[in-house]
Symmetry: C2
Subunit: 308 residues, 2 copies
């Protein structure tokens, strides 16, 4: 059983979509990553920070999913990070309504002693210096470090971002961010440029159009499952990353062929995430449902052509 370190936000979200709106509900990158990774036989720990306003039941929810929460700092007199957003009708774009950093502003992640030798490290979207700090605490070089980031850090902390990117193995990034980071429109060319920045593996997320995995001249394309409706895209990218990281940690196999499977697991889990608000769908997802949807992914993509 591989060890997996997850760093990211554990937070409150308030979400508005064409289908309705929520009050403050459980959210955050580490939450979605953890819930996704919990479907694999891994020893995972979430590292984050919350305020005294954060309900114990949310922490219990992570513990009950076998996520070690000893690395989640609770600042008794602080408030938990809060994000609120509104999705447009096409569900592909959204406006951020509120961002209250709160305790996140002074987040100094502390990796629990027993996880400093973890095989896989998943750096969720956070300030690049926070991501760097986690890497610095590892006593053994991890077999795979995965980093997720966003355009905000390219605008505000590009040098720090480039420094941490040098030290990682896999970057997950969306198509527009890949273009912003490299100045290249073609995703093939963008991926090649990102390779030269450090990551041997580049995962480009294209939302409803799926995800691409690049490794030198190898490419793998996992479509997103065509859905009747996307109810709430919040957390889909983190769920994808969590499924990817969890599968790699469980199998301990970082070959390109195995990463293909990790991508498919990530896509499969993300296809559930968007079916309900927030973490709701991920909280009672069974392995039978996952297996059934994996079969759908196979039928969606696999074909039999004999080459001559």
């Amino acid at each position: 059983m591989g060890k997996l370190v997850i760093v990211g936000t554990v937070a409150f979200d308030a979400i508005e979509t064409p289908f309705g709106k929520t009050d403050k509900i459980l959210g955050g990158a580490a939450t979605f990553i953890g819930l996704a990774a919990s479907h694999f036989d891994v020893d995972a720990a979430a590292i984050s920070i919350v305020g005294g306003d954060f309900p114990q039941e949310y922490l219990d929810l992570l513990s009950d999913s076998n996520i070690d929460t000893s690395g989640i700092e609770i600042v008794k007199d602080g408030k938990t990070f809060f994000w609120s957003g509104k999705y447009h009708n096409d569900m592909n774009t959204r406006d951020t309504l509120v961002t209250e950093l709160n305790t996140l502003e002074d987040f100094n992640p502390v990796v629990p002693e027993s996880y400093k030798n973890a095989e896989v490290v998943m750096l969720g979207n956070l300030h690049p210096l926070v991501q760097t700090s986690v890497l610095d605490q590892m006593t053994k070089k991890p077999e795979l470090v995965i980093l997720d980031t966003m355009n905000f850090w390219m605008d505000c902390a590009l040098d720090d971002l480039l420094n941490v990117i040098k030290r990682i193995d896999v970057i997950t990034i969306n198509d527009e961010e890949a273009r912003q980071l490299t100045g290249e429109y073609s995703l093939v060319v963008a991926a090649r440029k990102i390779h030269t920045m450090g990551p041997k593996y580049v995962v480009i997320k294209k939302g409803e159009h799926g995800a691409l995995l690049f490794h030198n001249d190898n490419v793998f394309y996992a479509p997103a499952l065509p859905l009747e409706e996307v109810f709430d895209p919040t957390g889909a990218g983190d769920t994808f990353a969590g499924g990817f990281a969890g599968y790699i940690a469980k199998t301990g196999d970082t070959s390109f062929e195995n990463m293909k499977n990790a991508i498919i697991y990530g896509s499969t889990l993300a296809s559930f995430c968007v079916e309900k608000f927030g973490t709701e769908r991920m909280q009672n997802l069974t392995s039978k449902e996952i297996q059934k949807r994996l079969l759908q992914f196979k039928q969606l993509t696999q074909f039999e052509i004999e080459l001559t």
Copy 2:
């Protein structure tokens, strides 16, 4: 060896892309469909109309590709259909600069006697009444009728379009057109609505994001090959349709499983089409090159997950 009837334009195109521009070169839906279908062991005929200004060498090019051209009417004192367009920087959108219908205005397609019993009919993008006329001439119900169309006919000839759509088996349409035809944003819901209009199979083309095949509750997703650069997208959709139709005509198998392969062949051929201006890349494409790219498509999409 199956018979394939192709109706569509045989035309002059003048194309401008960020990479350069062309004078009047060979174009037209039936041209691209025919060149793609010629890679399969089929007995294909192109039905179209050109003017006296159309070079014999272009007709020879089709004949040399084993396309019967006896159904291409030559109006000695007429001019050939001419289209000119300019692609924007993202290559996904274009402006039409010139459309001269010329002889196409009075096109009455005549299916050559020996092709009236063809197994597969490919109705390229044309006025729906012209597409209907071809179907009316078939003496034996074809095993598969494929129709391509565009938003222009939805705007100007919707009733005629709906009438011919009732009589076909497969429609190929792009994502925005599927949304326009049905008023549904979700492609899954749009495809279901199109099923009720007649076609048992709905192919939705998403350009650089690939193509979806719907048949009742079955879905297949073929990605487009990620390319370093798309040089000229003109004809890619017709090439895709021609590969699809050619493969079905050759194999004589209209099962969903075999249509998956037809989609992959269509995508493979289209990935060559966009590499050069107009038909240039399609004119000297070898089966060895096609087999090599099919292997790339396999590597791009195939994975090995054991389901439990």
